[in-house]
């Protein structure tokens, strides 16, 4: 157990900010800290040098190795997450800026999203409705927001073709958001009069009551196209298999790996993980939004490099310190 000059320096800053006295205890479990702190500190110049050295180490070495004291103001154990956030934000902003300037950004094809318009067209030809389920999670789930974003695009296509759309939801907050998005889509397509407020409807708050209702709808109305986009749980296969039995073309998208096999078995197209979040940007074809996707790809590339380095280090038995860098991330 040691005390760090850097932490006293940091404490001074925080004390000025918060007016509180913060006592910190730091536990070191790797050599860089131990080496520097073991150096004599009689000379003031050396003290400054030590502070500088520790500042550099703060940026380069695992802060997660420092135990979190309950009276600390800042979570230093999450410093690595902060670095990732800064890199991620910078990448997204830089690529968005490039996209704004007109630089062409390549985006790979996502067949499931290309098929959405085709599937709605099929429903129009058959004179049957389109069923869209934005998952069964609350609006505070990012998957639900992704689902609602895609719903806006689907609603524009159904408004254009004047195809009936049915959107059952499980939570009232999702109901409010869904109604707003669908109404806006109909207005933007100049079909405000065709908008039915009951297009998006609250069905049930219970997971399986919701499923029973939607399955009943599928068997009675036989929608030509079923689109599942959002967070799904045990009901995923109940919905997708019933849709399959009803003869509907089905497109699904979820970020839950445990539900993906069910959708893959029962649907024509399945968006996996990140494709769900990319859908709104992909469908919009707006360069600014595509810039965000490219930023995400850049960070993914960095992570792949980090993974390969980690695999090599761990394989040769030198990876313990390296692995701790990613603890809080």
């Amino acid at each position: 157990m040691c005390e760090s000059g850097l932490f006293y320096w940091a404490n001074g800053c925080f004390n000025r900010l918060s007016g509180r006295s913060l006592k910190r205890e730091i536990y070191f479990d790797n050599w860089p800290y131990s080496f520097i702190l073991a150096q004599p500190m009689r000379n003031p110049r050396l003290h400054n040098l030590r502070k500088l050295s520790l500042s550099v180490i703060l940026a380069l070495f695992p802060v997660s190795a420092w135990a979190q004291s309950s009276n600390e103001l800042i979570r230093f154990d999450r410093f690595n997450a902060f670095i990732l956030l800064v890199v991620f934000s910078a990448a997204v902003l830089i690529y968005t800026n490039w996209a704004k300037r007109g630089k062409t950004l390549f985006l790979r094809k996502i067949p499931g999203l290309d098929a959405v318009e085709e599937a709605v067209g099929r429903a129009t030809e058959m004179g049957r409705p389109v069923l869209f389920i934005p998952g069964i999670a609350e609006l505070d789930e990012i998957e639900t927001i992704a689902g609602i974003s895609i719903l806006g695009r689907v609603a524009k296509i159904t408004a254009q073709y004047e195809t009936p759309l049915m959107v059952p939801v499980r939570y009232p907050l999702v109901l409010a958001a869904g109604q707003e998005v669908v109404e806006q889509a109909y207005i933007e397509m100049g079909k405000g009069d065709a908008y039915d407020k009951d297009t998006v409807r609250y069905v049930a708050g219970e997971q399986f009551a919701f499923t029973a209702n939607v399955n009943g709808y599928m068997m009675r109305e036989r929608p030509a196209t079923n689109i599942y986009m959002g967070a799904f749980f045990a009901e995923s296969l109940l919905l997708a298999e019933t849709g399959n039995a009803a003869g509907s073309i089905q497109i699904a998208g979820t970020a839950r790996p445990e539900q993906l096999p069910f959708f893959i078995a029962a649907c024509v197209y399945t968006l996996m993980g990140e494709e769900l979040y990319a859908a709104s940007a992909y469908l919009s074809h707006e360069p600014v939004m595509l810039g965000g996707l490219k930023g995400q790809d850049f960070v993914k590339m960095l992570l792949i490099i980090a993974l390969v380095i980690g695999i090599l280090l761990v394989t040769f038995g030198w990876g313990d310190t390296y692995v701790t860098w990613f603890d809080a991330v």
Binding site: A81, V92, I145, V181, G205, F208, G273, E274, L276, A281
Partner: protein
């Protein structure tokens, strides 16, 4: 105004949550996150009324128009109010009110709602069988590999199957556990999870920065 205000609210809320993540939960900044979650619950409580209005309007319209299956809609409407109204009144008025044991709400929940939910969940077994039949048809080399792997894993997952696999030399159950489940399966799952996490973070950033407005029906 209808666009600007939600974007500003999304930015402020998202930024506050981000900052809060890096502060200790004991500090007021660190507590912003839990405070916002409480607000979401409160707002969600108010919007519950929207849900009740929606479900009543849709079902009432079907009953009024004598649409196909309108009788079921009547049952739905009766069920909603039979469950909700006695639960709203205080149990001091009558032991049948409120949500305590022995109340109407509790009786309906324990003897009707829960068994029906369990029944729906139980039907999943049949759906899995039909989906597995379709997924495991050996039409291509890839689907044949999937079929063989899935058969081995399913065998290993049941005690009798594991005993059967142990009859063969080479410790097949250990092989399946190490290389299939903890190797290939976990690697693929983690790849999807990392991709999904980056996608979620990217979408969150686009929303916080106001780049993405599709969740409001804009763009």
């Amino acid at each position: 105004m209808r666009t600007q205000v939600p974007v500003v609210v999304a930015f402020l809320t998202g930024f506050a949550l981000l900052v809060s993540f890096f502060f200790n939960e004991n500090t007021w900044i660190g507590q912003i996150s839990s405070e916002i979650k409480i607000w979401v619950t409160i707002v969600g409580g108010f919007t519950l009324l929207l849900g009740v209005v929606s479900i009543t309007r849709v079902n009432w319209a079907a009953v009024k128009g004598r649409k196909e299956g309108w009788g079921y809609k009547v049952v739905t409407l009766i069920s909603i109010f039979a469950m909700a109204i006695p639960a709203v009144f205080p149990s001091t008025w009558s032991p049948l009110f409120g949500r305590a044991e022995g109340s109407i709400y509790d009786w309906l929940f324990v003897y009707l709602d829960s068994p029906m939910m369990a029944t729906m969940f139980a039907t999943l077994a049949f759906y899995i069988a039909s989906a597995a039949y379709r997924a495991f048809r050996a039409r291509t080399p890839e689907s044949t590999i999937l079929l063989l792997t899935a058969t081995a894993v399913m065998l290993w997952r049941v005690p009798m199957g594991e005993a059967f696999l142990n009859l063969f030399p080479g410790n097949i159950p250990e092989f399946l556990n190490t290389y299939i489940m903890n190797g290939a399966n976990m690697a693929v799952q983690r790849g999807i999870i990392i991709g999904a996490a980056l996608g979620a973070a990217s979408m969150s950033l686009r929303i916080i920065l106001g780049i993405e407005r599709t969740y409001m029906g804009k763009g």
